[in-house]
Amino acid sequence: MNVNEPMLPPVRGLVDRAGRLLEADQRLMDLNSRAGGGIGQSIAIPQIATLARLAQRLGILVSRGVVAADGDDDVELWVRAEPEKAGVRLLITGWRSRAAWYPEATQGEREGDFLRSAGDWSWETDSALRITFLSISAGARHGFDSASMLGQPLTRLFALGEDGEGAFPILGGLAMHQRFDGQNATIRATGRTVRLSATPRTDAGGAFAGFIGAAHMIDDAPPVLPQPAAAPEDLTDAFAARLDQALRSPLGRIIANADSINAQSEGPLRQDYADYAADIANAGRHLMGLVDDLVDLQAIERSDFIVAKEPVDLADVARRAAGLLGVRASEAQVRIDKPAPQDMLPATGEFRRALQVLVNLIGNAVRYSPREGMVWIRTERENGVAAVIVADQGKGIALEDQARIFEKFERVDPREPGGSGLGLYIARKLARAMGGDVTVDSAPGQGARFVFTLPYRE
């Protein structure tokens, strides 16, 4: 969510030592007057007033992300408050109309955690793309000297390559300070191919402070086939692209606002209203999940959809998927019994997609488990097939429903809340695209048992 919207020129203002707004560009003036203030009066946006006062008292530049109410909307501002003789000089950028009461920096860190857990190893850089973190043992595992790469430019470690369309995703990421995926590269020391993805780390003022990145080894995998010339964008493509943008940001705002109302961060509130806000946030998250699923759906139904055939350790993927769902499981008071750390199950497929399938299966198992229930994840190998079995203690699935649940917009139990009805459909499509499958066996009252298979790798 670090996509920068087209940058508008920064907005300036000046607050005197008593906290009165002396000068303001039009947009700040408008925002301030809608909040009931005017030139010569105390600035009417409380967060900016606080920040200006803090900067004045400390006597240094202070920058912070601020969410200010603007009529019915919220705007997210990056405010730099710099004290000078006449008062405090304000420089405001951002002006995004979406709420984010948590600082961008934390969000970058969180995305970084997700990246790290999906990658084979991780790296970090400063804003000048010097390597500031590189796992020492990753170097030992993959044959390069991590220690000597620390402090060096990222390009000393990796030779960057163009993707199928002749582009360098990292350049876009760097220019826009946004997340990038699928940057092909080779490790200079070994010549082995990797795929890089990274999310930016930004400071409280929104400035770029470096990348948190992950590397996926793609050894032995056939080189990624050049993408067939992009088909003319048809209606569904455009729809999916727009869906992503058009729904995500308002939904994000609804969820963010509802969460902050629920957290009563702006002051106390009657409990039933706070609870309604939690309902709104949950409904918003549900819709957001649906958007994710629809975007995936659109991608996998394209005729040119391909998945990478890379070596994966399915037991490892299962452990990571279980790890990602740990919080949700403990909230639901469900225990996940994941494969033992030493278990290995070599298979062929695409890591990211296999993780997605297992997150879906385990997530379903958690959702349909009774309190204090248990979800078992087991790995098995049979005749060239690697299988992960996810079993729960839920109410199970009747035989006549077992085919239905893999269809579009069908649900394991239509009476249960949550779920878009696309998860299992997508999971099976993905599994089949990788040469495997997702199947179910279950009887009512006996829990469900989903089996995700991929080709075994000798």
Binding site: I136, Q152, T202
Partner: protein, 370 residues
């Protein structure tokens, strides 16, 4: 048949007795648990470990004990195999981790020095992780350590490289930390001998007549672990080395301190203060981590750090640590900045006394009067 019935009766009798005994014990336990919960609840929040530090501390401690147990146990097993005591060797090589539980139950891990080191480390990591990300004014300017690695002074460059590597190891490399404790030598030695003792205690029966062989193997393995431990490799030692190599002048210190915090290199920040005052790392760390940062402000004034730099440092630390009160810091800043450095130096003289001497004074003060 009758004997079976008898067995069953005995079984159920025994079961009843055990159930009653356990219920009685549970009653007592529940009472104790409540007492502990009450104690815990009334602990002053500012001294209590927050949940993150607590879990970091537990993880670090378990990892260290496992590392030492692995090293001592596995090497002793190899020695026993070579000395033809195969059964004992096998037992040692395949044993489940047992040392942690024993050291906890014995109370040995309540060692004040060990805990001071571990609590300090956990709190430092918590604070460092929460420091706000600060982008440099010039995005093309490399971060502090990356620049120092390119420094023409080889000593500085090597120390900067070592610090970056040590930070990497400590904060992101589970595999590397699985085989090392990163403890000061004395604490590492203590932990190693405790581990050897716990292993002996556990295998004493299995050893039987081979007990002398077990003792010899454990001693040899522990000696090996002790002698191979290099405390100069520790993150804390490496940070002090870099601070000494930089040896900043008074006017160079403030910008270095500010940039170290902006780059979230808290270890270097602590080491720079330690070096400037002639304090050990752990003592400097105590001063930096203290949320009521009065000692830190005095120290910074004693080092002639200017108002603006103190403001930046205070802002960064307050944003990272919710226990610090930014508002009262802003209120106090003028007073802090106005403190003459000579006064500040006098005020902190007691901090600069030899740490063992200070420890002895504190211990004496805590003890009962004659």
């Amino acid at each position: 048949m009758s004997s079976n019935v008898g067995d069953m009766d005995d079984g159920s009798q025994w079961g009843v007795a055990r159930l009653l005994a356990r219920a009685a014990a549970a009653d007592l336990c529940a009472d104790e648990r409540l007492a502990i919960a009450v104690d815990d609840f009334f602990l002053p929040a500012e001294s209590r470990l927050d949940e993150r530090s607590r879990s970091a501390l537990a993880g670090t401690l378990a990892g260290m004990v496992a590392a030492v147990e692995g090293a001592v146990g596995q090497h002793a097993a190899r020695l026993l195999a070579a000395r033809e005591v195969p059964a004992l060797s096998e037992a040692l090589a395949t044993s489940q981790p047992l040392v942690m539980g024993r050291l906890v139950s014995s109370g040995l891990l309540r060692d004040a020095e060990l805990m001071r080191e571990l609590v300090g480390r956990a709190r430092q990591e918590g604070l460092a992780g929460a420091l706000p990300v600060t982008a440099p004014e010039d995005p093309d300017r490399a971060s502090l350590l990356a620049r120092l690695i390119q420094n023409s002074d080889g000593v500085v460059a090597a120390a900067a490289m070592a610090l970056l590597a040590a930070e990497n190891r400590r904060h992101g490399d589970v595999d590397a930390m699985a085989t090392r404790t990163d403890l000061p030598a004395e604490l590492h030695h203590r932990l190693t001998w405790w581990t050897a003792a716990a292993l002996r205690e556990h295998f004493i029966e299995a050893a039987g007549d081979s007990l002398p062989a077990l003792d010899r193997a454990l001693i040899d393995a522990a000696m090996r672990s002790v002698s191979s431990h290099d405390e100069g490799d520790r993150l804390e030692a490496v940070a002090m080395r870099l601070a000494a190599a930089l040896d900043p002048r008074a006017d160079e210190l403030a910008p270095l301190l500010v940039e170290a915090l902006a780059d979230r290199r808290l270890s270097l920040f602590v080491a720079l203060i330690g070096h400037a005052l002639g304090l050990e790392y752990a003592d400097a760390r105590d001063i930096v981590l203290d949320p009521s940062a009065d000692r830190l402000w005095l120290v910074l004034r004693a080092l002639e750090v200017d108002r603006e730099s103190i403001a930046r440092i205070g802002l960064a630390l307050s944003e990272a640590d919710p226990r610090r009160d930014l508002d009262s810091f802003a209120e106090a800043l003028d007073g802090i900045a106005a403190t003459p450095s000579t006064h500040a130096r006098v005020a902190i003289t007691s901090l600069l006394l030899h740490s063992d001497y200070r420890g002895a004074l504190l211990a004496l003060a805590r003890g009962t009067r004659p």
